[in-house]
Symmetry: D2
């Protein structure tokens, strides 16, 4: 199949279409991104790259980083992560406090804010310097040491992070947080501020499409079984309160971020990253979701 | 891979193990089923069958029938099913009324009770005789005309169906039910009472593993794209409030019923049915889930 | 104090003012009532009457009847009513199903629909013919045997009562309903259809202002302590999700109905009924609440 | 009526009875209070005092202070308090975050934690030094300048106040908090730590029984109408999720604290404070509630 041709079709069909949507207003850096940015990068299991548009430009990965921190927790945490966070899809928005009350401070899954904050807490317990080690991890799996945190985004997140402060204090009250609240949030706001391009994200996520291995070196990052399970969690929990819709329409495990990025994988075949800043009400990129839907439609290649 | 050998391993490992669990007490016929029943039947895409245990014995399919009725609705309904029911996983038990209130009478998905009741309502609108046509459909895709409703189970469901009466009346109040309440429930309690064996279920679900086609005849039942989408909904919504756990542990689209049955598919490879009556608190067969976990573990073959 | 003069002031101030609001659209008979109806009737403990406007005209008492049925249950039920229903204000609309789920089928109080349905169930268990006995009770405490059910309203309630069907079926599923669902609803829709005037309601509620006694005859209907407690429940639960607002603004125990009526009592002093059909979003008469606020403002006589 | 004799009866009946219950474990100072402390102090409108037991001993007033801060807000805030907090009873525990989500950050009433935190925020905006001015206010209405904050209790509250940190951050995220989170909590934890005796509390609350005036000096503290309204809010919201039960059983406006104190008023007649440290599951003093129930039972004098 000619993936570049298919990507060209997607670009042609969608580039000029106005799907509406909005950018997050609580982070000025995200609100300032030009709304017509659009790029897609597919990394095939043979090592080939296919792309169009703004795929070399850095954007804020936001929640996509939750996949990396979960991976680090599975690699290094000397405790059972699943006693601290569940793997069930959430029936509520990504930053909801309601569910926590009903479920005694155990977040529904590691890909909503509360769950990622517990994962951050776990990393603070088991790593010496999570901020550096997260960056090292991303450098390692992408082979690209230029990737960095965006300190302006970090500052904005910090200054407007009241809801995340609420979440972590609430879970501390409910007994599911071990470390200092400020330390956890410092790490969490940093992970959200990670700036990457579609190309870099596609490279990073090949690990999850390739049984836990770096494609070029065949180095095992995590066990194949664990990679499959992270894919499974992406499938059911990767899109906040819209995981069902994404699974139905696209049929690939994936993870989105409010920076407008989405990464998805077809295990054994490819990883793909797409970027378009305008979000729907659930916080997922409108054009990005549509582009991925076109991809699996045109290739006939969802995992189902 | 020697699937029969793998099934034999699963039988040996699990048959005598007591995983605990309980049978539903509100349906005497389900409560009376011998708790040590255990069988598994795998139908491979080449037409081969592998099985162990009580795979020829009939049991009450219960919620598994929701996959059939959704399929019928997609085949025959001259209205957009997705305006009446969503495709998002539910964060609540399968018979919850709470979510409906928040979401204006639109059920979260077609595989919880409220959603299946809306599908039943849709079938009543668009089919002449849904009860007969559901049976015809199951006869057709299994090639087995002996399959029937269990009238005793139907009677018990009817007599103890207050919660389902509540759900359908509530949705009628909220404007999402068109037909007579009694007619809907008569059909719904019948669909739940369908009695099938693991062998019959595995045959029926091959349609969903085989792009919507009957394997033996190559007859198209639904479009391949629709079959994929039903698989996707099974993945995110097939296990009530435990869809994430099943996806994580087993990694296959599937559907369970409180009769202790579970059916799962590996698109392009196989369909598999397992039966063990004792349920966990979420309403899914404990030994059945474990058997399927062993299957994808031993074969290394989840969809992820 | 010259109560008639005060009532005249209230009439003058409010009669022509348009407070907005709406009539219930699910009961055609209520929707058809002229929206400018307005009357107030105060029955003073000395036996004096003060009134203005449409105080002799019959309207549908709706939820106001819940005070009568609770009284009957306290008089005749050979079981502890408070094991079947609580006395806490509800944080949700009057017809909510959500709270029931959280609280195992025990309604928050007897003045929301679910609670009144449990009271109806209790009356069916302990009275021979609740429909007749409720009418006898109202005839007795008002001394007016013309009061009757409005069968047209009853029919409309019945035909549109899906939400009440849902509530009673749901509580039956949760184990808090003993009698046949249809029998309970037949009685409940009848009690709602009771047609009374402001004058009749003021007379009836004097029992609650007069320590449980009929004013003219000094006959004890219920113990003074019980009358006080019913007043207390009216104070905290008489206005659905607006009991706090009514207590804050008016400062009297009372009960409203979606027919636009409100009855309130000042224990030891007076009972007062007001009627104006247009309701606010919580289901309480807008002009009625305002009239009662003026009354306690002008007389300086709330219970606080 | 011989109030001292009635109080003696209450003491005799209840002093030795073990009603069970527990002390809050998250504040060591409260957990360390001898569980058999019991005292009651009634301050009659003529200036007479009646008392028994430990009525001169200081204890932590906790949530009772919320009545004082609401009063200060009504006295000094140059903004409409009721745009920032409602007056409806809460259907949830006093420290719930769930309701806030549903109601856009507007707390249900000023006597649950979230509401008191908004009031604290309002005081920080409109007073120069709320901590000093609250103490001045309490000194003034009691005529007792020895009343002080308990710094040990304050410290414990601060160290274990994660849930309150969550609440205030959450409301800040929802736009209903103006001042610095730490400043608000510093004031809030101080107000909770106020140490007073039953005698002092009864004196303080005479203002609410006496139309807003200090009894001895006839000085107006707040308008009589405002005092009535604060009484009304105490009636519907003073006992967390048990306001209905207290109104039903006792029939007086009142406010409880997790230090085991309860203060109630009979407008125009008396104020009364009771103290017993063991709490029921809703956070109200078990023996205290019972003592007040006996009081209104024996005197026949609820407000209803």
């Amino acid at each position: 199949m000619d993936y570049q041709a298919i990507l060209n079709v997607i670009e042609t069909q969608l580039k000029e279409v106005d799907f509406g949507g909005s950018v997050p207003d609580y982070i000025p850096e995200l609100a300032a991104v030009p709304k017509d940015k659009f790029g897609m990068h597919l990394f095939w299991i043979t090592g080939d790259h296919y792309a169009f548009g703004d795929t070399e430009e850095l954007f804020s990965v936001q929640s996509i980083s939750k996949v990396f921190t979960l991976t680090l927790a599975k690699m290094y945490a000397k405790e059972n992560v699943w006693k601290r966070v569940n793997v069930e899809p959430s029936g509520n928005p990504f930053n909801s406090l309601t569910e926590l009350e009903r479920e005694d401070g155990i977040p529904r899954n590691p890909f909503i804010n509360s769950g990622a904050l517990v994962i951050a807490d776990i990393l603070l317990t088991h790593l010496d310097d999570p901020k550096t080690e997260l960056l090292d991890f991303v450098h390692h799996i992408t082979g690209d040491r230029t990737i960095a945190y965006d300190e302006n985004v970090y500052e904005s997140e910090h200054q407007n992070g009241y809801r995340n402060y609420a979440l972590v204090n609430y879970m501390k009250a409910l007994g599911n947080i071990r470390n200092d609240v400020e330390d956890i949030l410092d790490f969490y706001f940093h992970q959200c501020s990670l700036a990457m391009s579609c190309r870099q994200l596609a490279k990073a996520f090949m690990v999850y499409a390739n049984k836990g291995r770096i494609l070029e070196t065949n180095e095992d990052i995590i066990a194949g079984k664990e990679a499959k399970r992270i894919d499974a969690i992406m499938q059911t929990c990767g899109f906040y309160d819209e995981a069902g819709e994404f699974t139905y329409r696209v049929g690939l495990p994936g993870k989105s971020g409010v920076g407008g990025g989405i990464v998805a994988v077809h295990p054994g075949e490819y990883s793909v990253a797409v970027w378009s800043p305008l979000l729907n009400k659930k916080g997922n990129s409108k054009k990005g979701m549509r582009a991925l839907e076109e991809l699996t439609e045109l290739t006939g290649s969802s995992i189902f």
